[in-house]
Protein backbone atom coordinates (compact mmCIF):
# COMPACT_ATOMS: atom_id res chain seq x y z
CA UNK A 1 0.00 0.00 0.00
CA UNK A 2 1.26 3.44 -0.94
CA UNK A 3 0.80 6.64 1.06
CA UNK A 4 -0.28 8.63 -1.99
CA UNK A 5 -1.16 7.55 -5.51
CA UNK A 6 -1.73 10.11 -8.27
CA UNK A 7 -2.76 8.99 -11.75
CA UNK A 8 -2.88 11.37 -14.70
CA UNK A 9 -3.32 14.35 -12.39
CA UNK A 10 -3.57 17.84 -13.85
CA UNK A 11 -4.22 21.03 -11.91
CA UNK A 12 -4.59 24.66 -12.86
CA UNK A 13 -5.19 27.64 -10.60
CA UNK A 14 -8.31 29.71 -11.12
CA UNK A 15 -7.83 32.33 -13.84
CA UNK A 16 -4.59 30.74 -15.12
CA UNK A 17 -4.31 29.42 -18.66
CA UNK A 18 -1.47 26.92 -18.11
CA UNK A 19 -1.42 23.78 -15.99
CA UNK A 20 0.53 24.10 -12.74
CA UNK A 21 0.65 20.28 -12.58
CA UNK A 22 0.75 18.27 -15.77
CA UNK A 23 0.28 14.53 -16.18
CA UNK A 24 1.46 13.65 -12.69
CA UNK A 25 1.76 9.90 -12.15
CA UNK A 26 3.17 9.14 -8.77
CA UNK A 27 3.11 6.29 -6.30
CA UNK A 28 4.66 7.43 -3.02
CA UNK A 29 5.63 4.80 -0.44
CA UNK A 30 5.29 5.27 3.32
CA UNK A 31 8.38 6.74 4.93
CA UNK A 32 10.48 9.89 4.47
CA UNK A 33 9.81 11.57 1.14
CA UNK A 34 11.65 14.57 -0.23
CA UNK A 35 10.08 16.55 -3.09
CA UNK A 36 12.51 18.90 -4.75
CA UNK A 37 12.83 21.19 -7.76
CA UNK A 38 13.49 24.87 -8.35
CA UNK A 39 11.10 27.72 -7.48
CA UNK A 40 7.97 27.43 -9.61
CA UNK A 41 8.55 23.75 -10.45
CA UNK A 42 5.27 22.74 -8.80
CA UNK A 43 6.40 21.39 -5.38
CA UNK A 44 3.95 23.52 -3.41
CA UNK A 45 1.12 22.84 -5.85
CA UNK A 46 1.77 19.09 -5.65
CA UNK A 47 1.41 19.19 -1.84
CA UNK A 48 -1.69 21.38 -2.07
CA UNK A 49 -3.39 19.09 -4.57
CA UNK A 50 -2.38 15.85 -2.81
CA UNK A 51 -3.55 17.12 0.59
CA UNK A 52 -6.80 18.52 -0.75
CA UNK A 53 -5.78 22.07 0.22
CA UNK A 54 -5.99 23.12 -3.44
CA UNK A 55 -9.79 23.27 -3.03
CA UNK A 56 -9.24 26.51 -1.10
CA UNK A 57 -7.73 28.05 -4.26
CA UNK A 58 -10.52 26.90 -6.55
CA UNK A 59 -9.10 25.95 -9.91
CA UNK A 60 -9.49 22.72 -11.81
CA UNK A 61 -8.30 19.22 -10.87
CA UNK A 62 -8.27 16.27 -13.29
CA UNK A 63 -7.16 12.70 -12.77
CA UNK A 64 -7.29 10.34 -9.81
CA UNK A 65 -5.79 10.89 -6.34
CA UNK A 66 -5.98 8.32 -3.56
CA UNK A 67 -4.55 8.64 -0.09
CA UNK A 68 -3.61 5.78 2.24
CA UNK A 69 -4.34 7.84 5.35
CA UNK A 70 -5.26 11.25 6.75
CA UNK A 71 -3.06 14.09 5.46
CA UNK A 72 -2.22 17.49 6.89
CA UNK A 73 -0.19 20.20 5.19
CA UNK A 74 1.88 22.85 6.99
CA UNK A 75 2.09 25.59 4.36
CA UNK A 76 4.92 28.05 3.72
CA UNK A 77 2.85 30.87 5.17
CA UNK A 78 2.47 28.91 8.39
CA UNK A 79 1.29 31.98 10.33
CA UNK A 80 -2.10 31.52 8.67
CA UNK A 81 -2.16 28.05 10.23
CA UNK A 82 -1.98 29.24 13.86
CA UNK A 83 -5.31 30.50 15.18
CA UNK A 84 -4.89 30.97 18.94
CA UNK A 85 -2.86 33.52 20.98
CA UNK A 86 -0.48 31.02 22.67
CA UNK A 87 1.01 27.65 21.61
CA UNK A 88 -0.73 25.87 24.52
CA UNK A 89 -4.14 27.29 23.59
CA UNK A 90 -3.50 26.43 19.94
CA UNK A 91 -2.67 22.77 20.61
CA UNK A 92 -5.49 22.32 23.12
CA UNK A 93 -7.97 23.92 20.71
CA UNK A 94 -6.97 21.57 17.89
CA UNK A 95 -7.27 18.48 20.11
CA UNK A 96 -10.58 19.59 21.67
CA UNK A 97 -11.98 19.84 18.16
CA UNK A 98 -10.96 16.23 17.61
CA UNK A 99 -13.01 15.29 20.68
CA UNK A 100 -10.08 14.06 22.80
CA UNK A 101 -10.64 13.96 26.56
CA UNK A 102 -8.70 16.34 28.85
CA UNK A 103 -6.29 13.68 30.14
CA UNK A 104 -5.38 12.63 26.63
CA UNK A 105 -5.02 16.25 25.52
CA UNK A 106 -2.64 16.95 28.39
CA UNK A 107 -0.49 13.89 27.69
CA UNK A 108 -0.32 14.54 23.97
CA UNK A 109 0.41 18.25 24.50
CA UNK A 110 3.35 17.25 26.65
CA UNK A 111 4.70 14.66 24.19
CA UNK A 112 4.41 16.87 21.11
CA UNK A 113 5.85 20.00 22.70
CA UNK A 114 8.78 18.14 24.19
CA UNK A 115 9.53 16.36 20.93
CA UNK A 116 9.58 19.65 19.01
CA UNK A 117 11.49 21.54 21.70
CA UNK A 118 8.74 24.11 22.29
CA UNK A 119 7.83 23.17 25.89
CA UNK A 120 9.42 26.41 27.13
CA UNK A 121 7.31 28.48 24.73
CA UNK A 122 3.85 27.08 25.50
CA UNK A 123 2.56 30.13 27.37
CA UNK A 124 4.32 32.83 25.36
CA UNK A 125 2.24 35.03 23.02
CA UNK A 126 2.53 33.73 19.47
CA UNK A 127 3.29 37.29 18.33
CA UNK A 128 6.36 37.39 20.61
CA UNK A 129 7.89 34.23 19.09
CA UNK A 130 10.53 34.27 16.37
CA UNK A 131 9.62 33.01 12.89
CA UNK A 132 11.45 29.72 13.49
CA UNK A 133 9.61 29.20 16.78
CA UNK A 134 6.25 29.96 15.15
CA UNK A 135 7.03 27.49 12.37
CA UNK A 136 7.65 24.78 14.97
CA UNK A 137 4.36 25.67 16.68
CA UNK A 138 2.61 25.28 13.31
CA UNK A 139 4.18 21.82 12.90
CA UNK A 140 3.12 20.91 16.46
CA UNK A 141 -0.40 22.07 15.68
CA UNK A 142 -0.45 19.84 12.59
CA UNK A 143 0.81 16.89 14.67
CA UNK A 144 -1.91 17.47 17.24
CA UNK A 145 -4.43 16.37 14.60
CA UNK A 146 -2.73 12.89 14.56
CA UNK A 147 -2.17 12.76 10.81
CA UNK A 148 -0.94 9.65 8.99
CA UNK A 149 0.67 11.78 6.30
CA UNK A 150 2.40 15.02 7.28
CA UNK A 151 3.39 17.42 4.51
CA UNK A 152 5.84 20.23 5.23
CA UNK A 153 6.31 22.96 2.63
CA UNK A 154 9.83 24.40 2.95
CA UNK A 155 10.39 23.66 6.65
CA UNK A 156 13.96 24.98 6.32
CA UNK A 157 12.69 28.46 5.50
CA UNK A 158 12.87 29.29 9.20
CA UNK A 159 13.61 26.21 11.30
CA UNK A 160 17.38 26.33 11.82
CA UNK A 161 19.48 23.59 10.21
CA UNK A 162 20.69 22.39 13.65
CA UNK A 163 17.09 21.66 14.66
CA UNK A 164 15.66 20.27 11.44
CA UNK A 165 16.78 16.69 12.02
CA UNK A 166 15.39 16.80 15.56
CA UNK A 167 12.07 18.07 14.23
CA UNK A 168 11.91 15.42 11.49
CA UNK A 169 12.89 12.61 13.88
CA UNK A 170 10.27 13.79 16.36
CA UNK A 171 7.60 13.73 13.68
CA UNK A 172 8.35 10.11 12.83
CA UNK A 173 8.38 9.09 16.49
CA UNK A 174 4.95 10.63 17.02
CA UNK A 175 3.31 8.07 14.77
CA UNK A 176 3.27 9.84 11.42
CA UNK A 177 3.68 7.15 8.77
CA UNK A 178 4.68 9.32 5.83
CA UNK A 179 6.51 12.66 6.07
CA UNK A 180 6.61 14.55 2.79
CA UNK A 181 8.97 17.52 2.71
CA UNK A 182 9.13 20.01 -0.19
CA UNK A 183 12.53 21.72 -0.17
CA UNK A 184 15.28 22.97 -2.43
CA UNK A 185 17.88 23.28 0.38
CA UNK A 186 18.91 19.66 0.38
CA UNK A 187 22.35 19.62 1.95
CA UNK A 188 21.13 19.56 5.56
CA UNK A 189 18.59 16.85 4.62
CA UNK A 190 21.20 14.57 3.07
CA UNK A 191 20.73 11.08 4.44
CA UNK A 192 17.17 11.80 5.57
CA UNK A 193 14.89 10.80 2.67
CA UNK A 194 13.97 7.22 1.84
CA UNK A 195 12.36 8.40 -1.40
CA UNK A 196 13.06 11.34 -3.70
CA UNK A 197 10.80 13.15 -6.16
CA UNK A 198 12.21 15.75 -8.56
CA UNK A 199 9.89 18.19 -10.39
CA UNK A 200 10.33 20.55 -13.30
CA UNK A 201 7.68 22.81 -14.82
CA UNK A 202 4.80 21.04 -13.13
CA UNK A 203 5.91 17.56 -14.18
CA UNK A 204 7.53 14.70 -12.29
CA UNK A 205 11.02 14.15 -13.75
CA UNK A 206 12.27 11.60 -11.24
CA UNK A 207 10.74 9.45 -8.53
CA UNK A 208 12.76 6.78 -6.76
CA UNK A 209 15.48 6.09 -4.23
CA UNK A 210 17.64 9.11 -3.31
CA UNK A 211 20.88 7.20 -3.91
CA UNK A 212 20.21 6.71 -7.57
CA UNK A 213 21.06 10.33 -8.34
CA UNK A 214 21.82 9.98 -12.04
CA UNK A 215 19.32 11.82 -14.16
CA UNK A 216 18.98 14.64 -11.63
CA UNK A 217 20.35 18.08 -12.45
CA UNK A 218 23.79 18.55 -10.95
CA UNK A 219 22.67 21.47 -8.71
CA UNK A 220 20.36 19.01 -6.92
CA UNK A 221 22.48 15.86 -7.12
CA UNK A 222 25.61 17.46 -5.67
CA UNK A 223 23.80 18.35 -2.44
CA UNK A 224 22.93 14.69 -1.91
CA UNK A 225 26.41 13.26 -2.61
CA UNK A 226 29.09 12.28 -0.12
CA UNK A 227 31.62 15.12 0.37
CA UNK A 228 34.38 13.32 -1.57
CA UNK A 229 32.15 12.71 -4.60
CA UNK A 230 30.73 16.24 -4.39
CA UNK A 231 34.28 17.68 -4.35
CA UNK A 232 35.38 15.66 -7.39
CA UNK A 233 32.29 16.55 -9.39
CA UNK A 234 32.31 20.23 -8.38
CA UNK A 235 35.95 20.58 -9.39
CA UNK A 236 35.52 18.73 -12.68
CA UNK A 237 32.53 20.88 -13.63
CA UNK A 238 34.01 24.20 -12.47
CA UNK A 239 31.33 24.81 -9.80
CA UNK A 240 33.67 26.22 -7.18
CA UNK A 241 33.64 29.82 -5.99
Amino acid sequence: MASIVMEGVYYRYRGQAGWALEDVNLRLPWGRILVTGSTGSGKTTLLRVASGAARVYGGEVRGRISLGGRPVLVPQNFDAFILMPTPRMELVYVMENLGLDPGEIDARLHTISRALGIEGLLDRRIASLSAGERQRVAIASALATSPDILMLDEPLAYVDPQSISRVLDAVTMLGVKAVIVAEHRLHSLRGWPSHLVYMEEGRIRYTGPPRDVEGLPLSIAIQLMDPGDAARVAEARGCLG
Binding site: Q135, S163, A234, G241
Partner: protein, 224 residues
Protein backbone atom coordinates in the same frame (compact mmCIF):
# COMPACT_ATOMS: atom_id res chain seq x y z
CA UNK B 1 30.33 54.46 9.90
CA UNK B 2 30.51 53.06 13.35
CA UNK B 3 28.08 50.87 15.22
CA UNK B 4 28.71 50.15 18.87
CA UNK B 5 26.61 48.13 21.30
CA UNK B 6 27.77 47.95 24.90
CA UNK B 7 26.36 45.42 27.33
CA UNK B 8 22.85 45.54 25.83
CA UNK B 9 20.05 43.84 27.77
CA UNK B 10 16.53 43.68 26.36
CA UNK B 11 14.06 40.81 25.81
CA UNK B 12 16.21 37.72 25.14
CA UNK B 13 19.49 39.67 24.81
CA UNK B 14 21.73 39.24 27.84
CA UNK B 15 24.61 41.67 27.77
CA UNK B 16 25.46 41.85 24.07
CA UNK B 17 28.48 43.92 23.05
CA UNK B 18 29.32 44.38 19.38
CA UNK B 19 31.37 46.81 17.33
CA UNK B 20 31.06 47.08 13.56
CA UNK B 21 33.04 49.57 11.51
CA UNK B 22 32.44 48.16 8.02
CA UNK B 23 32.12 45.04 5.90
CA UNK B 24 29.44 42.39 5.80
CA UNK B 25 28.58 40.79 9.14
CA UNK B 26 26.46 37.64 9.48
CA UNK B 27 24.60 37.04 12.74
CA UNK B 28 24.01 33.31 13.22
CA UNK B 29 22.10 31.45 15.93
CA UNK B 30 19.30 29.02 16.59
CA UNK B 31 15.62 29.91 16.50
CA UNK B 32 14.93 32.26 19.39
CA UNK B 33 18.60 33.08 20.09
CA UNK B 34 18.00 36.83 19.70
CA UNK B 35 19.03 37.54 16.09
CA UNK B 36 15.95 39.57 15.16
CA UNK B 37 15.92 41.31 18.55
CA UNK B 38 19.54 42.38 17.98
CA UNK B 39 18.67 43.82 14.55
CA UNK B 40 15.74 45.69 16.08
CA UNK B 41 18.07 47.23 18.66
CA UNK B 42 20.55 48.25 15.93
CA UNK B 43 17.81 50.00 13.92
CA UNK B 44 16.51 51.77 17.04
CA UNK B 45 13.10 50.08 16.90
CA UNK B 46 13.79 48.56 20.29
CA UNK B 47 15.44 50.48 23.16
CA UNK B 48 17.67 48.48 25.48
CA UNK B 49 16.57 48.08 29.10
CA UNK B 50 20.22 48.38 30.02
CA UNK B 51 23.40 49.18 28.08
CA UNK B 52 24.38 51.63 25.35
CA UNK B 53 23.82 51.78 21.60
CA UNK B 54 25.66 54.09 19.22
CA UNK B 55 24.35 53.67 15.70
CA UNK B 56 24.78 55.76 12.56
CA UNK B 57 21.98 58.18 11.69
CA UNK B 58 20.96 56.51 8.44
CA UNK B 59 20.14 52.82 8.82
CA UNK B 60 18.17 50.91 6.14
CA UNK B 61 16.29 47.76 7.09
CA UNK B 62 14.68 44.80 5.35
CA UNK B 63 12.60 42.61 7.68
CA UNK B 64 11.55 38.96 7.63
CA UNK B 65 8.20 39.76 6.04
CA UNK B 66 9.23 41.80 2.99
CA UNK B 67 5.63 42.72 2.17
CA UNK B 68 5.58 44.97 5.26
CA UNK B 69 8.01 47.28 3.40
CA UNK B 70 5.51 48.08 0.67
CA UNK B 71 2.77 50.70 0.46
CA UNK B 72 2.65 51.90 -3.17
CA UNK B 73 0.63 50.78 -6.19
CA UNK B 74 3.55 49.55 -8.29
CA UNK B 75 7.09 48.27 -7.88
CA UNK B 76 8.43 51.25 -9.83
CA UNK B 77 6.65 53.75 -7.56
CA UNK B 78 8.12 52.05 -4.49
CA UNK B 79 11.64 52.39 -5.88
CA UNK B 80 11.08 55.88 -7.23
CA UNK B 81 10.01 57.12 -3.82
CA UNK B 82 13.21 55.85 -2.24
CA UNK B 83 15.64 56.60 -5.09
CA UNK B 84 14.07 60.00 -5.81
CA UNK B 85 14.22 59.50 -9.57
CA UNK B 86 11.98 57.42 -11.82
CA UNK B 87 14.57 56.86 -14.56
CA UNK B 88 17.15 55.65 -12.07
CA UNK B 89 14.58 53.41 -10.38
CA UNK B 90 13.76 51.81 -13.75
CA UNK B 91 17.48 51.33 -14.46
CA UNK B 92 17.99 49.56 -11.14
CA UNK B 93 15.12 47.17 -11.91
CA UNK B 94 16.61 46.43 -15.33
CA UNK B 95 20.07 45.83 -13.89
CA UNK B 96 18.65 43.08 -11.65
CA UNK B 97 16.74 41.56 -14.56
CA UNK B 98 13.34 42.38 -13.08
CA UNK B 99 12.38 45.29 -15.33
CA UNK B 100 9.20 43.42 -16.29
CA UNK B 101 7.94 43.77 -12.71
CA UNK B 102 7.90 47.62 -12.86
CA UNK B 103 4.13 48.00 -13.15
CA UNK B 104 3.11 45.06 -10.94
CA UNK B 105 1.66 45.66 -7.50
CA UNK B 106 4.44 44.84 -5.01
CA UNK B 107 1.92 42.79 -3.03
CA UNK B 108 1.56 40.29 -5.90
CA UNK B 109 5.30 39.53 -6.10
CA UNK B 110 6.67 36.09 -5.27
CA UNK B 111 8.53 35.82 -1.96
CA UNK B 112 11.88 35.98 -3.76
CA UNK B 113 10.94 39.01 -5.83
CA UNK B 114 9.48 40.72 -2.75
CA UNK B 115 12.66 40.03 -0.78
CA UNK B 116 14.82 41.52 -3.53
CA UNK B 117 12.63 44.63 -3.75
CA UNK B 118 12.61 45.04 0.02
CA UNK B 119 16.43 44.92 0.13
CA UNK B 120 16.66 47.40 -2.75
CA UNK B 121 14.30 49.75 -0.87
CA UNK B 122 16.47 49.43 2.23
CA UNK B 123 19.64 50.34 0.34
CA UNK B 124 18.85 52.75 -2.52
CA UNK B 125 18.55 55.92 -0.43
CA UNK B 126 22.20 55.79 0.63
CA UNK B 127 22.12 54.60 4.24
CA UNK B 128 25.42 54.14 6.10
CA UNK B 129 24.35 50.77 7.41
CA UNK B 130 21.84 48.22 6.13
CA UNK B 131 20.36 45.45 8.26
CA UNK B 132 18.62 42.47 6.65
CA UNK B 133 16.72 39.80 8.56
CA UNK B 134 16.82 36.38 6.88
CA UNK B 135 17.77 37.55 3.39
CA UNK B 136 17.33 34.10 1.82
CA UNK B 137 14.24 32.62 3.44
CA UNK B 138 11.59 31.77 0.87
CA UNK B 139 14.03 32.19 -2.01
CA UNK B 140 14.78 29.71 -4.77
CA UNK B 141 18.41 29.12 -5.88
CA UNK B 142 18.22 31.67 -8.72
CA UNK B 143 16.76 34.38 -6.49
CA UNK B 144 19.24 33.50 -3.79
CA UNK B 145 22.21 34.20 -6.04
CA UNK B 146 20.57 37.47 -7.10
CA UNK B 147 20.38 38.54 -3.43
CA UNK B 148 23.99 37.50 -2.78
CA UNK B 149 25.10 39.52 -5.82
CA UNK B 150 23.07 42.48 -4.56
CA UNK B 151 24.52 42.38 -1.03
CA UNK B 152 28.07 41.77 -2.24
CA UNK B 153 27.88 44.68 -4.65
CA UNK B 154 26.45 47.31 -2.29
CA UNK B 155 29.68 48.51 -0.77
CA UNK B 156 27.71 49.62 2.30
CA UNK B 157 28.17 48.13 5.75
CA UNK B 158 25.69 45.28 6.14
CA UNK B 159 24.58 43.31 9.19
CA UNK B 160 22.31 40.39 8.37
CA UNK B 161 20.76 37.59 10.44
CA UNK B 162 20.44 34.17 8.90
CA UNK B 163 20.51 30.45 9.50
CA UNK B 164 21.52 29.85 5.89
CA UNK B 165 25.16 28.95 6.55
CA UNK B 166 26.05 28.54 2.87
CA UNK B 167 24.85 32.06 2.23
CA UNK B 168 26.78 33.46 5.22
CA UNK B 169 29.97 31.78 3.99
CA UNK B 170 29.45 33.16 0.50
CA UNK B 171 28.87 36.83 1.37
CA UNK B 172 29.98 37.62 4.94
CA UNK B 173 33.44 38.85 6.03
CA UNK B 174 32.67 38.24 9.67
CA UNK B 175 30.50 35.85 11.66
CA UNK B 176 28.88 36.57 15.04
CA UNK B 177 27.05 33.71 16.77
CA UNK B 178 24.30 34.34 19.32
CA UNK B 179 23.28 31.65 21.78
CA UNK B 180 20.43 32.33 24.20
CA UNK B 181 20.98 36.05 23.93
CA UNK B 182 24.77 36.10 24.32
CA UNK B 183 27.58 36.48 21.78
CA UNK B 184 29.45 33.17 21.92
CA UNK B 185 31.62 33.50 18.80
CA UNK B 186 32.91 36.47 16.80
CA UNK B 187 35.41 35.60 14.06
CA UNK B 188 36.40 36.47 10.51
CA UNK B 189 34.14 34.40 8.28
CA UNK B 190 36.72 32.00 6.82
CA UNK B 191 38.26 31.38 10.23
CA UNK B 192 34.81 30.54 11.59
CA UNK B 193 33.81 28.23 8.74
CA UNK B 194 37.17 26.51 8.32
CA UNK B 195 37.87 26.21 12.08
CA UNK B 196 36.23 23.97 14.68
CA UNK B 197 34.45 26.29 17.07
CA UNK B 198 31.36 26.87 14.93
CA UNK B 199 30.75 23.14 14.64
CA UNK B 200 31.36 22.56 18.34
CA UNK B 201 28.35 24.84 18.84
CA UNK B 202 26.26 22.34 16.85
CA UNK B 203 26.14 24.00 13.43
CA UNK B 204 26.25 21.63 10.46
CA UNK B 205 29.08 22.07 7.91
CA UNK B 206 27.95 23.85 4.74
CA UNK B 207 28.40 21.97 1.46
CA UNK B 208 31.14 24.40 0.33
CA UNK B 209 33.18 23.68 3.48
CA UNK B 210 32.85 19.91 3.07
CA UNK B 211 33.96 20.25 -0.54
CA UNK B 212 36.78 22.62 0.47
CA UNK B 213 38.03 20.21 3.15
CA UNK B 214 37.92 17.31 0.70
CA UNK B 215 39.99 19.35 -1.77
CA UNK B 216 42.33 20.81 0.85
CA UNK B 217 41.62 24.44 -0.02
CA UNK B 218 39.18 27.24 0.72
CA UNK B 219 35.90 27.06 -1.19
CA UNK B 220 33.25 29.72 -0.48
CA UNK B 221 30.47 28.52 -2.73
CA UNK B 222 29.44 25.58 -4.86
CA UNK B 223 27.09 26.37 -7.70
CA UNK B 224 26.62 24.00 -10.59
Amino acid sequence: MSLRLEDVWVRVLQGVSLEVSGGVVAILGRNGSGKTTLLRVITGLLKPDRGRVEAPGRVGASWQNPYFSFHRQTVLEELEEVAGDRGYAAEVLESYGIGDLAYRSPFTLSMGQARLLSILLATLWGPELVVVDEPTSGLGPGERSMVSRLLAGLGTTIVFATHDLDFALEVADRVVVLDRGRVVLDLPSLEAFYGDELYRLGFPRPLAVEVGLALGRVVRSVSC
